[in-house]
C-alpha cells in the first residue's frame, strides 16, 4: 500500500486545513502537511512528552489530550500543540528533605487546592491516575504517589488542565525521588561491590585481560561460564 492508496482525512492544524493520509500519527500528518518541527517533537516514541497536543473532533465538545507521536489523526480533527507547559519546578536539596506530607505542602502548597475533579487523570495520555497520586502526596503516602506516577513522561497536559493550578508532574517527580532515597534506600550488594572496586580487588584480573592478545581473549570469551 503506497500513499496513493491511502484513505485521506481532513485535519486542521492551528486552524489551517490539510488533507492527510488517514493512518498517520498527528506528528507525521503535520510533517506530511509541510511542517518541520523545531519545538514539539522529541523521541517520537512516546517516551519524552515533548509533543503534547490538544484536539477536538468535529461534532464533539470534548477537549482531548494526546501525544502527537502516538495519536492517529481523525477526520475533522482540530489540533493545537502544547509544546511547553509554564511551571516552576522548585529547587531543593534531596539530602535535607523528609519523606512526608509536609515536604509536599511546603514546596507545592497548591496541592491542597485539589478538588478531586479528576480532570488531570482524564487529560493524561499515559492513562495514569494523576489525581490519585496528587491525593496520595497530600496525605504523605510517598510510596503510593511514587508508584502511581511512575509512568509519567512529563508532557504537561495535566498541569494545563488542572482547575486548581497544580503541576502534578512536578509533585510526582518529588515523590519518586523521596521514595527511592528514603523509603527504599540504597542496595547493600551495590555498596559492597563499590568498596571492592575501590580496594582494587579486580585490578589484577582486568590488567591480565587487557594485556592478552586477541587469540587468548577469544578463547577465554568462547569458553566463559554462562550463568543466567
Amino acid at each position: 500500500m503506497g500513499e496513493n492508496e491511502s484513505e485521506m482525512v481532513t485535519i486542521h492544524v492551528m486552524g489551517k486545513k490539510h488533507e492527510v493520509p488517514a493512518d498517520l500519527t498527528i506528528m507525521k500528518a503535520m510533517e506530511y502537511a509541510g511542517h518541520q518541527f523545531r519545538r514539539g517533537a522529541g523521541c517520537r516514541g512516546g517516551y519524552c512528552g515533548a509533543c503534547a497536543a490538544m484536539y477536538r473532533v468535529k461534532g464533539s465538545y470534548k477537549l482531548e489530550g494526546a501525544l502527537a507521536c502516538q495519536k492517529i489523526v481523525e477526520d475533522g480533527m482540530y489540533i493545537a500543540q502544547i509544546p511547553f507547559s509554564p511551571a516552576e519546578k522548585i529547587t531543593y536539596d534531596l539530602s535535607e528533605l523528609k519523606p512526608d506530607a509536609n515536604t509536599f505542602l511546603e514546596y507545592y502548597p497548591e496541592i491542597s487546592r485539589c478538588l478531586s475533579c479528576n480532570t488531570c487523570t482524564k487529560a493524561c495520555p499515559q492513562d495514569i491516575e494523576v489525581m490519585d497520586y496528587v491525593q496520595a502526596s497530600l496525605r504523605g503516602d510517598v510510596e503510593g504517589a511514587a508508584r502511581l506516577s511512575f509512568d509519567c513522561i512529563g508532557c504537561g497536559l495535566c498541569a494545563v488542565r488542572c482547575p486548581a493550578e497544580i503541576v502534578p508532574y512536578n509533585v510526582g517527580q518529588l515523590a519518586r525521588r523521596l521514595n527511592s532515597r528514603y523509603v527504599i534506600g540504597p542496595t547493600e550488594h551495590v555498596l559492597k561491590r563499590v568498596g571492592e572496586v575501590e580496594a582494587g580487588e579486580f585490578d589484577a584480573d582486568i590488567d591480565e585481560l587487557k594485556r592478552s592478545d586477541r587469540k587468548t581473549l577469544q578463547k577465554r570469551y568462547e569458553s566463559r561460564e554462562v550463568k543466567l
Binding site: 478538588l115 478531586s116 475533579c117 482524564k122 491516575e129 489525581m131 490519585d132 491525593q135 503516602d141
Partner: protein, 294 residues
C-alpha cells in the same frame, strides 16, 4: 463484620494516632475496617457551597468507591465508617444534598464521566454511631482493663453535632461519649463546654482567637477536676492539645492537661497494642501511669 472505612488525609498525617487506635478499637469489637484502595480528600466542609457542583466531586467520588467495594463484595453492607469530624460532616452532607437534588446528582454524574454513576446508596456513619449501635453491654464485655479512677472530660466540638440534622447526637445535650466512657469504667466529668467551638476555623488567621476559645474549654475541664480530655476530631485535638504550649505562655496559672482521642482510651481499656500515645501533645503517659492504667 467487614465495613468500608474512609480515613481522610489527616488520619494519615497529623492524626496517625487516631487512625491507629481506631483500628485497634475496631479489632477488639470484631469489626474489620477496610479502606478503599483508591480514595481522595473528603473535600472539606467549608467547600460545600450549594451552588458549586465542582466541590461535590471529591466527597461523591469517595462514596462511589464505597459502592464499588460493596459491589465487589469486599464489605458486608453499604455503610462507610468515618472518624475525622470534618470528613464525617462533609461526606454526610454531600451525600444528603446530592440525593435530595436530582439535578445536582445529574451534573455530578455528567462531569465524572469515566466513573460509574453514584447510586446514592451509601450511608455515612461515624465510628461513635457504630459503637453505640453495638450496645454498651457489648462494649463493656470487651473491657479487660477498666479505666477505674480516670476522670474523663469528653469534648465533642462542632462538626459531630451540627447542623442538627446531620449530627450524631443531640447538639445541646450529647451523651454518646459519656455512655461510652462509663462502659469503659471511667468517671465522666460533665460540663456545658463540651460542645462549644474550639476555634478551629480561626486556627490560621486569628490564632489568638483560637487560643482564647481553646483555653476556655481547657480551663473548664481543669476546674471540673478532669484528668484527661477526650476528643473525636483531629482539629479539636490540635487546638486543645498541641496549642497548649502557646497558651501556657499567656496563661501562667494553666498547668496543662493531656488530650487524647476516644479510640486511644478504648484501645487501652480493651488491652490492645497500638494506642499511639507517643504522638500526643502534651504527653498523656504520666497521668495514665499515675492511675495505674499503663
Amino acid at each position: 463484620m467487614r465495613l468500608a472505612y474512609y480515613p481522610g488525609c489527616t488520619m494519615k498525617t497529623d492524626a496517625k494516632n487516631f487512625d491507629e487506635s481506631t483500628y485497634s478499637a475496631a479489632e477488639a469489637l470484631g469489626i474489620e475496617l477496610l479502606e478503599p484502595t483508591r480514595w481522595n480528600c473528603c473535600g472539606t466542609v467549608h467547600a460545600l457551597a450549594k451552588d458549586n457542583v465542582m466541590n461535590y466531586l471529591a466527597p461523591i467520588r469517595n462514596l462511589i468507591r464505597v459502592e464499588q467495594m460493596n459491589e465487589a463484595e469486599l464489605v458486608d453492607d453499604k455503610r462507610v465508617v468515618t472518624q475525622c469530624a470534618m470528613c464525617y460532616n462533609t461526606l454526610k452532607r454531600a451525600n444528603a444534598d446530592a440525593k435530595a437534588d436530582p439535578d445536582k446528582m445529574g451534573k455530578i454524574r455528567d462531569f465524572m464521566e469515566k466513573e460509574p454513576n453514584y447510586q446514592g446508596s451509601v450511608n455515612v456513619v461515624h465510628m461513635l454511631e457504630l459503637i453505640k449501635g453495638l450496645g454498651w453491654d457489648e462494649v463493656k464485655s470487651k473491657v479487660v482493663k477498666p479505666l477505674d479512677g480516670l476522670k474523663v472530660f469528653p469534648y465533642y466540638g462542632c462538626l459531630l453535632l451540627r447542623p442538627r440534622e446531620y449530627g450524631i447526637d443531640d447538639p445541646d445535650h450529647p451523651t454518646v461519649m459519656e455512655d461510652l466512657f462509663e462502659a469503659l469504667g471511667a468517671e465522666v466529668v460533665d460540663n456545658p463546654y463540651k460542645a462549644k467551638c474550639c476555634g478551629a476555623y480561626h486556627a490560621v488567621h486569628l490564632k489568638e482567637v483560637a487560643a482564647d476559645l481553646s483555653y476556655r474549654i481547657l480551663r473548664q475541664a481543669q476546674e471540673a477536676g478532669a484528668d484527661i480530655i477526650v476528643t473525636a476530631c483531629p482539629l479539636c485535638q490540635f487546638n486543645l492539645g498541641d496549642r497548649q504550649n502557646e497558651i501556657k505562655k499567656h496563661q501562667r496559672e494553666f498547668e496543662g492537661i493531656p488530650v487524647v482521642y476516644y479510640t486511644q482510651l478504648m484501645a487501652l481499656a480493651f488491652g490492645k497494642e497500638g494506642t499511639g500515645f507517643e504522638q500526643n501533645i502534651p504527653d498523656p503517659v504520666p497521668v495514665l501511669e499515675e492511675k495505674g492504667l499503663l
